[in-house]
Symmetry: C2
Subunit: 153 residues, 2 copies
């Protein structure tokens, strides 16, 4: 039995198994709800992409969030129903939609990000910036090694 390999598995299981992200998402979802914001952490991730750059195709959102096209379709369905985004067909390419933030969608940013900041501060309390940067570096390398996308587009 290879001790090394077993070590790697157990050492990383909590990250890789999604325990950490699940905890964060649970917490975020509860805080959004408490604050009366009717969004999930997944919806927030989509909005984050749009707050960064608006009026993009669904494919772009899919790439930036690393979520499947089909997931984006359904997330946008909900966001649209809640009047946070709008799909507008492109005039030049009839295959694509450009996703626009509505006023409500734009207004949501400050409140939502305040909650996110608070949650991330809680998560990283007692951890130094250097430690975070180092961790991020390792995570990037892990991601590159795994480099696998959702269903090929």
């Amino acid at each position: 039995m290879q001790l090394n390999e077993f070590l790697k598995i157990t050492e990383l299981l909590d990250v890789l198994s999604g325990r950490l992200s699940a905890s964060l998402n649970r917490l975020l979802n509860r805080k959004f709800k408490e604050a009366g914001l009717d969004i999930s952490s997944e919806q927030w991730l989509v909005l984050l992409s749009l707050w960064n750059k608006d009026k993009v195709t669904q494919q772009v959102i899919s790439d930036q969030t690393a979520k499947d096209k089909a997931s984006i379709t359904r997330l946008l369905d909900i966001l649209s129903k809640h009047d946070l985004i709008e799909r507008r067909p492109s005039s030049t390419d009839r295959r694509i939609n450009l996703v626009h933030l509505t006023e409500r969608g734009k207004e949501l940013e400050s409140k939502a990000m305040e909650i996110v900041r608070e949650t991330f501060n809680q998560a990283t309390s007692g951890i130094t910036e250097n430690e975070l940067i180092f961790t991020r570096e390792i995570v990037c390398r892990l991601l590159n090694n795994l480099s696998i996308q959702p269903t090929v587009n």
Copy 2:
């Protein structure tokens, strides 16, 4: 401080958003399928717990996998249907089931873990043991910070 907070968010987003675990799970699922193993990465996580310690209650599995009791119920339904585990009512406490691995469930271990080892090796290629241990340490602290919430079960 604004800048610091923003840094924390962007630095950690890939871990916390679940991008990493999603990538790993996608890859694991594909490899299991390619190898003809009819299990998902989530089911594997449950089996891992059982391979480590058999004949435990569903609650124990729930705790060890950090998954909701309801999720465990449904994962075990599938594993049971595929004849990998068996629920046996306890003779001393009629509330609980003891989850037993079947012969098929036991036999699956070597094949499945071979694939997992291979995948984890791929993920951690070029990363030293010390780096992994350090990362694990930070992840533990992040987890602790997140799970101290009063609203958590």
